[in-house]
Symmetry: C2
Subunit: 190 residues, 2 copies
């Protein structure tokens, strides 16, 4: 017998992401996805029971990916600020490199495809970020405000920056990146 091809799932994901970033979640069809992926429409249904499942799976995958890289190189024994910087940079770099995921996740949040279950699992993934900010608060380096509020503020700013950068299709210079980090840090610092 023939086995499922894991690379094909990846192919499908990439096709869907690309199309959503270009035309929005409202503008993609199963036909579009299969064409972009270079496979037959029917094959999509070998890997997913339908459009809903495809999008839920891609959503879960996208969220997990972005969190996974965030703490790469983070050393808790380091002082807080450079540690925070490492994580912040990881997130920014990831979002810039995976712009399509950023758009896709955003579009999914208010959409009929994502189930509450999928949405809740995504929420849980944010726990390490809360821990990080709380550490900064314990060390009196970060404002004693609602942690969720601070996180929201930073993530919103980052997301918008990435979108704006993509639109203006400049590459974000090191100078601009450092500057934006300063904006974030000045906002957070006690």
């Amino acid at each position: 017998m023939k086995l499922k091809d894991d690379r094909k799932v990846e192919l499908i994901y990439q096709a869907a992401l690309k199309l959503v970033a270009r035309k929005g979640l409202a503008g993609i069809t199963m036909g579009d996805i299969s064409r972009e992926a270079g496979i037959a429409t029917g094959t999509l249904y070998v890997y997913f029971t339908g459009k809903d499942e495809l999008i839920n799976a891609l959503f879960a995958c996208s969220r997990a990916n972005s969190v996974q890289v965030a703490f790469r190189g983070y050393d808790p024994s380091q002082p807080f600020k450079p540690g925070f910087r490492t994580v912040w940079m990881n997130i920014l770099r990831y979002k810039l490199q995976h712009f399509e995921e950023v758009v896709f996740v955003e579009q999914c949040f208010h959409s009929p495809y994502i189930t509450t279950e999928t949405r809740e699992k995504a929420r849980e993934l944010a726990a390490p970020f809360f821990d990080l900010i709380e550490r900064g608060q314990q060390e009196q380096l970060v404002k004693q405000a609602d942690t969720g509020l601070l996180l929201t503020f930073i993530m919103g700013a980052l997301n918008e920056l990435v979108k704006q950068t993509h639109y203006s299709n400049e590459t974000l210079s090191k100078r601009k990146i450092d500057l934006t980090f300063d904006l974030c840090w000045d906002a957070l610092k006690a």
Copy 2:
């Protein structure tokens, strides 16, 4: 003869906004909109040539509305910080009260409905915000960084805050609002 009813356009807009905030741009049909608005599907085509035009018109309208209220009560002869605070508050208040517009505009940005023409007109509306930040820079109160970058940062943070607030369905307390303003101001200030 019978005349077109301006309130009906408003009714259609409200219905569409409500549905998009609930189910996303991908999840609304002309049938849904007419049902929610309490009118017949055919009537939609009296007021709009089709779905594309409806959504483009609503997008343009939503953007214009939010800008229109931003400078209410702003007095250029006032010092910069309180003036900036007034505008910032106007924007926050508007976004909180018109959450559905926030979601709608966001979803539209990457969608097959919005024409480049509509998108460009929306961009032009941002000019007064640039002017405001530039004033702060001239007075040495705001960091000498790319103005667009600063604006993007602030607007992204505000948007995310509004979305997060809506999700957690708490009302944003005065304390939290003041706190978030401090985050913004600390980020911007030279």
